[in-house]
């Protein structure tokens, strides 16, 4: 069970304040949705959490260890894994090699052949084991998203941050990815999922964080957040569009 504490994080780029005093905690195997209009600071927050950006002020604690300011590889090895808004597999490497990179980074003493079995198991779980020897560039967009998820499982991330996992994927695969997330979550891993797919995120997550202009404007169960006037005004646009039937929200 993990404990993430994000305390008063501020981050700016020149004159633009991307994050303002963001504070929240994640405990246990929570499944959290992070939503907000474009430019709200969602990806910046992800970059702060995984060490790409150092916050101007504030602290990030993960399992009682301070992790803000650590390089991304250190954060990854301590259990915070992330995917990118646009999938970034190692294109000119095979699917199996993609899977072995995080595993070998995490287990310096292990040999490739020892980790191969585990990699094939994870690929089988994700239903793409027959593609193990294919180059990642030959995979479809949806398969590449599954591969990214697989790499995080090989990294044994305890907190998995998924940036737009449902963007541009077929509805059937969206269901498949949701199912994988639920299964992995039930196995004890926490998730923070950034998404503009309102229907999916409202159904999947048990808690929602809403960012607007770098500020956390709501934090609570989806049914409460969807009725929050500040959220409706800042992000959801109109009250009648809120709810599972609303589909993709209109952005500010």
């Amino acid at each position: 069970m993990i404990q993430l504490d994000v305390r008063n994080i501020c981050k700016s780029f020149g004159g633009l304040q991307a994050l303002r005093d963001v504070t929240f905690s994640v405990g246990g195997n929570e499944l959290i949705g992070l939503i907000g209009p474009n430019g709200a600071g969602k990806t910046t927050l992800t970059n702060v959490l995984d060490g790409v950006h150092k916050p101007a002020s504030g602290q990030v604690w993960f399992n009682a260890q301070r992790v803000d300011g650590l390089p991304p590889y250190e954060v990854a090895r301590r259990g915070i894994g992330r995917t990118f808004q646009i999938t970034r597999p190692f294109l000119r490497m095979t699917v199996l090699e993609n899977m072995l990179v995080p595993a070998l980074a995490l287990h310096p003493a292990a040999r490739k052949r020892d980790l191969r079995g585990r990699a094939l198991e994870v690929l089988a779980f994700l239903t793409i084991e027959r593609l193990a020897d294919e180059y990642a560039r030959s995979l479809s967009g949806g398969q590449q998203k599954l591969l990214e998820l697989g790499r995080l499982l090989m990294l044994d991330s305890q907190l998995i941050i998924l940036d737009e996992p449902f963007a541009g994927v077929h509805p059937k695969l969206r269901e498949t990815i949701s199912q994988f997330i639920t299964t992995v979550n039930e196995q004890g891993k926490a998730f923070i999922i950034i998404s503009h797919e309102m229907e999916t995120i409202f159904t999947l997550s048990r808690r929602l964080l809403v960012l607007n202009w770098g500020q956390l404007i709501a934090d609570g169960p989806p049914e409460v957040v969807r009725k929050d006037p500040a959220v409706i005004q800042a992000y959801l646009g109109a009250e009648e569009k809120v709810g599972p039937a609303a589909g993709r929200a209109t952005h500010a």
Partner: protein, 337 residues
Amino acid sequence: MNPFLARRWMGTGLLIVLLLLSPLYLSQNAYRMSVVTGGFFYAILASSWVLLAGIAGQFSFAHMAIMGIGAYTSGLLGRDLGMSPLVGIVLGTLLAGVTGLLIGFLCLRLRRAYLALFTIAFSEILRLILLTEFQYTGGANGLRLAPLYRGITPVVGYYITLGLLLGTMSLMYWLTGSRFGLFMRAMREDQDAAAAMGVNVVRYKIMIFVFTSMIVGLAGATFYHQVGILTPNTMEVLQMSLVIAMAVIGGIESLLGAAVGALVSRIGLEMLREINILGLHIELGAWRYAAFGLILMITLRFAQNGLVYPLLNRLFPQQVRKPLTAKQSEKSGGSPS
């Protein structure tokens, strides 16, 4: 053993035997001997550059300059302090490694064109220092280096350089097959994604600069003790471009392709000095480089995997690719996208 792997080993074995027996023919002509020995030297430069740029994604132009550091260090230590070439080669190799370490540190945040420009600037500064400080370095007249040992013959020089090529190639192949090799390729593909997967990009980037710098430092110091003279012009960008062209023609992601490409290019360039067509004697001189440039342009346009690597792959395939591709599998009921 996997039959494809066995075929590769057999092919490699045959190539090595051929190279080992070549002096039986080549030793009759000292010039041919020196051309092939020079080919081995360029093969080390090209294959190590492939490791740095083609496999690890660090597009450096400082390779020849670092080679020069190894060679000049050994030469100067021998001339001014009376050190034996063997000690000089060891110290030259170490100093080349230290230079690689510094470049690795300084270039941590530089990628692609910026890294290339930085290393071009480094090479030119070093070359100009060596040219200007002629009272210490010999300047444009060059630095005379003692032979590896008194009475060394071209045949021994051939075998020393061949041994160095085989040794460095073995080391580089071992490295690319290890976890280090996997991380290098991940870094080449996407440094940020590699870091997010737990790879210490900074450490591996510096390590690859140090490793390849030591290889070229060792090669430079050893080879120029055989040549006997070293000038700053060996470190100019044009020479570096020649090594890159050899690597590209061979195959920018293949160590063996680059090595064979360099050897063939070196021999080809020498053969093109003078050609006889239907009794007509033509001295190509500098025009042979134009012909070489043309081959490079054609390679870049039509065969981006190089000319040698696809040929080697056809002769010695790694494995039979599965006919099922990702997109085909989707059509036949795989994961939808």
